[in-house]
Structure formats: C-alpha cells, structure tokens
C-alpha cells in the first residue's frame, strides 16, 4: 500500500509539471490556432538556461529565475515574429512543419551553445522536505509542485482579471469579432507565444533540477501532447486534470508492470498508448470542444 501511495504522490508531482508544460501548448492553440510541436524544446532550453544562470553565472535562485524568464520572453517574441507571423492562414501541416523546424533549430542551438551535453544542477534549487507517515516526498519534486501551482494560479488570475488576459480569451473565442472591437490580434499572438515560452522554461528549470538536462529532455513535450489530447486541446482546466491523471497513471503503470515486462521502458511508451486510446474513443478529449464542420 505504501508503495502504491508513493507512486501516486510522485506521479502527482510529475503530473503537475506535465500540466504546466501542456498549458503553454493550450494557450498557443487557443489564441493563435497553431499546434506547437516545439513546446518540449522550450522545456529543454529552459533547463539549459537554468544551468547557465545557476551554475555558470552563480546567480541566486530568484535572479536566475528572472533572467530565464526574461530570456524566454525574448525567445517567444522572436519565434512569433520571425517564424509564425508569416504562417497566419496557412494550412495545418505548414504550421506544424514550421514548429518542427523551430524545434530542430532550437535543438541545433542547444547543441551549439551547451554542446548538447548532460548538465545538472542538483542541490542548487531550494528544497523542502515533507514526510507524511511512511511517505516521503522527494524535495526537488515538492518545490516543483509548489512552483507549478503558483504559476497556474497566476495564469488563472491573468486570464480572468487583466485586460490582456481577457483580450486573449476573447481572441480564442472569435478572432474577427475581437478585431472589430479594437483588439490587436498580432499582439495577442505574440503574447501567447511569450506565455508558452515562459511556462515551458519554468517547467524546464524544475525538471532540470530534478533529473538534469540534456537534449532528450525535449521528449517531455510528447508527454505534454498526450496530456493535451486527454484533457481536450482547448481547455486549460482539462490540461491540469489530465496532466495529473497521466502523471499518476504513468508512474503506477511503470511501477507495477516494468518488473514483469522484459525490456522495461513502459513509462516512455505509456503516453502514446493513452494518446491512441483517447484518439480512437474520445477524439476531442475529456473537456475539449467538439468541432462541427460545414462545407
């Protein structure tokens, strides 16, 4: 039983980070109708940025976080202006290939700047130890959960109470109406990429603190896609619920099935199995809007 609860708890912590990354994806999709394959690569860049500011420059944690967020804002603005602005109104495949090209370029840049090597800053981030009975929660994960929850709450408040946040939600609803109401849609697009980038980078710093950072860290983006599909591609709440569900399911399934299966590695393929099942039986996810198409 303790084993099961332990798996549940660490799955929950992992799921919160997945949810955080998936939210970035959902925001871009809602506001600018672009599917961002490179979300996982923002995470990887975030991990490397964390390493640069925390270890190479020896900045304190708060300053590193600010610097990384600043870098993420610049990256987001550049990406939107240079790569995605020319793609407005293009078919789905063109936009997806563009974000793939973005992911490849980011991977190349990470190789160029950080050598694509395994970097770790274990023990640099502050830790909180918590013990409930026999359950121990890994300290790095706990701080990750807390940061994720804070970021999610900030985003919720942003979308509910600020002018720009409301503009973004309105754009998600209907672009043309919003334009006639005097909201600049290009600004909303830029803002959505900036938010996605910042959220990805924060997720990357958390994951980098837990397990180190290297190029394959970007594969976490794939898990975020499974989360997004399970929750429904245009639902932020869905992303949170599905993130936690997938994190827990993945951990429990891997914990019980990996000893039975010879090759192991179920945790890596599990999100894809979930993806296929969701796509076959409930294509629009748990909380997604069902698209109705007319000729």
């Amino acid at each position: 039983m303790t084993f099961f609860l332990q798996l549940m708890v660490s799955g929950f912590a992992l799921g919160m980070v997945y949810a955080l990354i998936a939210i970035g994806f959902v925001i871009i999709l809602k506001c600018s109708k672009a599917f961002n394959i490179a979300q996982g690569h923002f995470v990887m860049i975030g991990g490397y940025l964390g390493f640069t500011f925390l270890v190479t420059f020896h900045l304190p944690v708060w300053a590193s976080l600010l610097a990384a967020v600043g870098a993420a804002i610049i990256l987001g603005l550049l990406v939107e202006r240079l790569m995605l602005r020319p793609m407005v109104g293009q078919p789905v495949l063109a936009i997806i290939m563009m974000t793939i090209a973005l992911s490849v370029v980011l991977e190349g840049l990470a190789t160029l700047i950080w050598g694509g090597e395994y970097k770790t800053y274990h023990g640099v981030l502050p830790t909180i130890t918590l013990k409930v009975g026999e359950l121990s929660i890994p300290p790095e994960t706990l701080i990750g959960v807390i940061v994720s929850i804070i970021v999610v709450i900030i985003l919720m408040l942003f979308f509910r109470y600020t002018r720009s946040g409301l503009a973004m939600m309105a754009t998600a609803e209907d672009e043309q109406v919003v334009q006639s109401a005097g909201i600049k849609v290009t600004t909303v697009y830029a803002l959505s990429w900036v938010i996605a980038c910042v959220v990805g980078v924060i997720g990357g710093i958390i994951l980098g603190g837990v397990s180190g950072v290297m190029i394959p860290l970007s594969m976490v983006g794939m898990k975020a896609f499974a989360v997004v599909l399970l929750g429904g591609v245009n639902s932020i709440g869905g992303a949170i619920v599905a993130g936690i569900m997938l994190g827990v399911l993945e951990n429990v399934a891997a914990g019980y099935l990996d000893p039975i299966l010879p090759g192991g590695g179920l945790a890596n393929v599990f999100p894809f199995v979930v993806m296929i099942i969701v796509l076959i039986f409930k294509p629009y996810g748990l909380f997604g809007l069902v698209e109705i198409e007319r000729i």
């Binding site: 599917f35 790569m83 020319p86 793609m87 293009q90 789905v92 495949l93 063109a94 997806i96 290939m97 563009m98 793939i100 090209a101 973005l102 992911s103 490849v104 370029v105 991977e107 190349g108 840049l109 990470a110 190789t111 160029l112 700047i113 050598g115 694509g116 794939m222 896609f225 599909l229 591609v233 299966l261 010879p262 090759g263 590695g265 890596n268 393929v269 894809f272 199995v273 993806m275 296929i276 796509l279 076959i280 294509p283 198409e293 007319r294 000729i295």
Partner: protein, 347 residues
C-alpha cells in the same frame, strides 16, 4: 503551360499521356541511361549516397500519396518502414525465405500495420491524426524492442544480402541497380496510382473531405487505401534499407526520420510525384554537404558548431521553404519550364 508550344492534344489518349512529345521520350531514356551508367563513372562512396537516395525516394513516394494527395498527415513513416524492414529481416534470416518472396510480404505487413494505425483517421484529422501517427511510430519501435527473442531487441539482428540464382547482391554497384530499378518502378506506380479512380478520390478527400463524401467518395475505404498504399511503399523502402546495411536495428528508424520525410515533401512540393523525388534528392544531398563541411567546421571553429550544423541547416531549409516557397521545388521547376517554353517572348 502544360505543353511545349505548337503541341496540341487531339484525343483523350494524348491528353492523358505523361510523356507527350518525342523530346520528352528522348530525355526520359537519356536520363535512365545516365542513371544506370552511374556505376561506370562513380566510386563506392557516391554509389552509396545514390542508393540511399533511391531508398528515400521510394519511401517519400508513399508518404506523398498518403499526405500530399490524400492529406492524411503521417508522422510515423519511419515506424512503418521499420515494420517492413523487420518483417523482411525475420522472413529471410529466421525462416529462410528468399529476398524476393520476403519483399512483397514485408510490403504487405507494413501496409496492414498502416491500415491498423490509419483507423483513427476516420474520426480525426489534422493535428489529432499527426499525434496518432507519432504514437504509432513509438509504439511500433517499442514493440520491436520488446520482442527480444524474435527481433534481438536493441542488439539488432543480422540480415542476409539478397541473391538470385547464386548471384549475391554484395557489391555496391549491384545493389545500386536493384534499388534504382525498384525506385523507377515505384515512381512509375506512384505517378499512375494518383491518376486512377482511387487517386482522384484521394485528391477529392484532400481538397474537401465533406464535399468528397457528399459526392459519393467512400471515406472509409479510400482513406484506408491511402494508408495501405503509403505504408506499402514504406515497407519496401525499409526492407531495402536493412538488406543494404545487412543489419537491422531500431536505430535505423529514429523518430526524426519520420519528420524528415515530411520535410522532404515540403521542400520538394506536396502532391507532386516529381516533388517527392526533388525533395528526397535535395535533402539527402544537404546531408552529404553537412558531412563534408562538418569536419572542416570542427577543425576551424569548434566541434560543437560541427555537430549542430546539420540540425540548424535542416531546420532552416524547411523554415525558408515554408515562408518563401510553400509549394516546393516542383512548383519552381514548373515555372522554369514554362519560362523557357515561351522564351524569348514573355507572354
């Protein structure tokens, strides 16, 4: 600007002809003769490159029918290639089939797996379908790795070279001929499949799915047919690849390859048989350029610059094509052709 000036169609057969004038026939045969004379002029290194290009062309033709003509975007093409590759490898190495029997079986196996993973396409499209095919790729590779006793898992397995009546396709030039004959056959089939009833149905589905259904195109059969045909091509290409390397591992079919095949389609031009060839050739040549420039860059600038060069170049090529020429090289080629047909008159 479909025809050289002064050429007029006077019947249905002429209208349908791919090669319409005598010059076009002459150019076709000149190209084929030059292609098959390559082993006389080039060394093993260039032949290897050409063989790999030939295999990619076969694979991209499949993806072109599936994605370019039928708009069912597949990002699991390398996974389907792996199915064909392992089917062929198992049949020849473990069960003692000859290569010639194993190749159709491999194609069939890949096609059937393609149909299975194409089933979600009946309810979903666009991004959802891409995710389903991405999942297909990872699940296929995972299953291959799990079947340790059969496939050798991550250790891989040795595969015999094909042979016919005692003659083994061992040398680079003999395998070059094998691949090129199949590539030409594949091009012929790909060009003609899209001119059949099924091909026109694919195009109708691509242009507007609902309208196609209203017009009486059976989405269920034709989408699955597109998946089957696309994956058959992938299976043949995968089988040729492992028999060429004489070894099969899952490392030969990384996820990024699935993405590159789509990139080849973008660069070459979607929905055009010539585009598939242009794309495969140009991106593979770009890879070769990178392998030549890479060591120079490593010596003069830094090893990091060399290892990132390939990624950044590939990313930039796809990016620039998407922004400046979304219709690919095939479209540029059409423009060049219509220009020289009218030269020296501009209108």
């Amino acid at each position: 600007m479909g025809l050289p000036s002064g050429t007029f169609n006077q019947g249905y057969a002429q209208d349908m002809a791919i090669f319409r004038t005598r010059t076009q026939w002459v150019m076709l045969f000149a190209f084929l003769i030059l292609l098959f004379a390559c082993p006389l002029f080039f060394g093993d290194r260039i032949l290897t490159i050409l063989t790999i290009i030939g295999i990619s062309v076969i694979s991209v033709h499949g993806l072109n029918i599936l994605t370019g003509y039928c708009n069912q975007i597949s990002m699991g093409h390398a996974g389907f290639m792996a199915v064909g590759a392992y089917a062929s490898a198992l049949l020849t190495a473990k069960l003692g089939f000859s290569f010639w029997a194993a190749l159709p079986c491999a194609a069939l196996a890949a096609g059937i797996v393609g149909i299975i993973f194409g089933l979600p396409s009946l309810r979903i499209k666009g991004f959802y379908l891409i995710m389903a095919t991405v999942a297909a790729h990872f699940i296929i590779i995972w299953v291959i790795l799990q079947l340790y006793g059969v496939t050798g898992g991550s250790d891989g397995m040795a595969v015999p070279r094909p042979e016919i009546g005692g003659f083994v396709f061992k040398s680079k030039s003999s395998y070059f001929y094998l691949v090129m004959i199949l590539a030409c056959l594949g091009t012929f089939l790909a060009k003609n499949i899209v001119r059949t009833r099924a091909g026109r149905a694919f195009i109708a589905i691509r242009d507007n799915e609902l309208a196609a259904e209203v017009m009486g195109v059976n989405l269920w059969t034709y989408k699955l047919q597109a998946f089957f045909i696309g994956c058959v091509f992938a299976g043949v290409a995968g089988s040729l690849l492992v028999h060429y390397v004489a070894f099969a591992t899952t490392d030969q079919f990384p996820f990024m390859n699935s993405v590159w095949y789509l990139g080849m389609l973008i660069v070459g031009g979607m929905g055009s048989t010539a585009g598939a060839i242009f794309g495969a050739v140009s991106l593979k040549l770009l890879d070769e350029l990178v392998t030549i420039v890479g060591p120079i860059l490593a010596a003069t600038v830094s090893p990091q610059a060399a290892s990132s060069l390939g990624l950044i170049m590939r990313g930039l090529v796809i990016l620039l094509f998407l922004i400046f020429e979304p219709r690919g090289i095939a479209h540029r080629w059409q423009m060049v052709k219509s220009y020289y047909r009218l030269w020296p008159f501009s209108h």
